[in-house]
Symmetry: C2
Subunit: 369 residues, 2 copies
């Protein structure tokens, strides 16, 4: 006797996770990692004021959080010079990606992304029955004009484009992003994932008019603001577009501690600047370690450095395996030819000392030495 009659779509989906988390890997290997450099987390952490705000708010945890995220959205609106109606707060960019895909995509609808871009976006598209069309990276950059041409060809409803990009760390100027919008086909929305924008050079944030209906942007407190474990992201777009999230979002889904922390983090822009300096220094240090080992670090506008291991994907996977085996958690691009690289998140001096120690041995093993 069967009781749960799943939708045809649900029946067709695999039970899958876009990423295996480091804790899962630690349980599998039976030991914790010595250096956690694989998830593009911000090891330097959030503003102490954000931590204090979260600790104070923990006492108020018996109350549901404000379903409108009023105070946080008001602060974001002031910070960005836009209206609250242009902002929706959600359970990380991951959660907001799911909501956006749900609003736009039904089975068979075309969606365009770069081959090897963010897997969680692909997970959500598959989860709503969308058909993904993937364009290769060009010179380790997402090819925005190419994505738009592919969208036109396929009649796609949605394009995913990250600036700066993960996993390659590459970026376009904001002006180039805006210029490319002339190629965006009608009936197609550009989803601009700016998770790493605070780390990027001045001029990388696309100067899109907030009421421009061609674009929705997503940002997060998980990266530069150092609050990955709080699960707070936000989407920016025209008020008419943003209003649609009210139709489907989990209104009471945001945590109270998380919102208080995000508000305090946003209000400490001095700390944010310090973090960005620390991240820049850490990028340099990672690049130096890579070069010292004969590897080629790619330029990065993020809090990670993607390092070209100089051979094919099997070689890079072996290097990654060697690092993980020595307790250094890193990740790598999934798709050739980007999978010639490994991706190393910025870390503390101690983290990078572990990396510097482990990398020669990992390379030796990968070379069969």
């Amino acid at each position: 006797m069967t009781h749960a009659r799943f939708t045809r779509l649900a029946q067709s989906l695999p039970a899958s996770v876009p990423f295996v988390g480091p804790e899962e890997q630690e349980r599998t290997r039976g030991a914790p990692f010595d250096a956690r450099l694989g998830a593009n987390e911000n090891v330097f952490g959030p503003s102490p004021k954000a931590i204090a705000a979260m600790q104070a708010e923990a006492i108020e945890i018996w109350k549901y959080a404000d379903a409108a995220s009023h105070d946080l959205r008001a602060a974001l609106a002031g910070h960005l010079g836009i209206e609250m109606g242009n902002i929706v707060v959600g359970e990380g960019i991951d959660g907001l990606l799911g909501y956006l895909v749900r609003l736009l995509i039904e089975p068979g609808d075309a969606v365009v992304t770069s081959d090897g871009a963010y897997p969680t976006f692909n997970y959500h598209v598959a989860g709503f029955g969308g058909v993904l069309h993937k364009l290769p990276y060009r010179d380790d950059h997402e090819d925005l004009r190419g994505l738009m041409a592919l969208a036109r060809e396929r009649g796609a409803k949605l394009i995913y484009f990250a600036n700066p990009d993960n996993p390659m760390g590459s970026w376009l100027s904001g002006a180039d992003v805006v210029a490319a919008l002339e190629d965006l086909p009608e009936g197609c929305l550009l989803l601009l994932d700016e998770a790493y924008i605070e780390f990027a050079p001045e001029g990388t944030a696309a100067p899109v008019e907030i009421e421009d209906e061609r674009v929705i942007r997503m940002r997060t407190f998980s990266k530069a603001y150092g609050m990955a474990g709080a699960r707070i992201g936000y989407a920016l777009g025209s008020a008419g577009l943003i209003r649609n999230f009210e139709k489907i979002r989990n209104h009471f889904g945001m945590g109270r501690v998380a919102q208080a922390g995000a508000l305090a983090a946003l209000q400490d822009q001095d700390w944010l600047r310090e973090i960005c300096d620390k991240v820049a220094a850490s990028r340099e240090a990672i690049a130096r370690i890579a070069r010292d080992n004969g590897l080629d670090p790619l330029p990065s506008a993020t809090n990670f450095v993607t390092v070209d291991c100089g051979a094919d994907g099997d070689f890079a996977r072996a290097v990654l395996g060697g690092l993980v085996a020595q307790g250094v958690f890193v990740r790598m691009p999934f798709v050739a030819p980007q999978d010639r690289c490994i991706r190393i998140s910025c870390g503390t001096e101690a983290d990078l000392a572990r990396l510097a120690e482990a990398l020669p041995e990992a390379l030796r093993r990968a070379r069969g030495g």
Copy 2:
């Protein structure tokens, strides 16, 4: 030029929120409430050990949380004598309801609930295009056998049933719930919402075999565990059923602080027992205040008391309005004849003193005095 092409379903949905939160009401009225007795929150709060665990974990907020919620699920499994594979943790019961509906319901599918039961469930069903069939309460109880008959008649895929019930506070014995399963039609899953179960008399939790594929149960840390603002719920069911959530859930959607707090809260069962005693005493106090004002408190197995105001919905709405105007936040059932009642959550002595003070005036006004 239109860029966001929404699905037909998304176009058909209203921008709505299942509940207006108290913060929103406070902003509208321009003043905070003196007593927060409307959202069935647990004013007595979580275990101090849970607060301490959350405060300690705030320092680790730079890391994503464990996407598998391993430690919390392991602790729940131990506590309940089941396997980790029988448990999925999610963003409150609200989030889990959304996932379950998404797994089962496509446009046109029939779903059965009681008329006036949990609006957030209805919101999710509508959000996936399901067709709700509603059965009236019977003597202020959800009519479980009737729900099953209606499900059979409509070919429903899913029945929502809360035990204890919100908003009426009524309950069935767990034995009666299990006995009623004989009437559950094939192809229909019983969703048993046990959000308030810890407050209920011994024997209310239905003794369902965990691998029984007819039932999925949902529980929460928002009520008895006092952590509404942390957004942690969990669903219990057969491993084969629970595995399906892995196809669609936001794997990295759970907060780190929330998970640490929930784990510590679960481990302090002494505190939970104290809370349940305090809640029972508060229920008695609310009932007394109601009787002192000539109103009829209904029996409750929850952390609220639904009070029959003795007339129609308009009268009860006027009483509620009078309380809210005096700074006492309460809610009430939406549907007749249950809307003859107001619903008052358990509170501190100070909260109930405010209630006792405000209620006579609210009644006077409602009676046009």
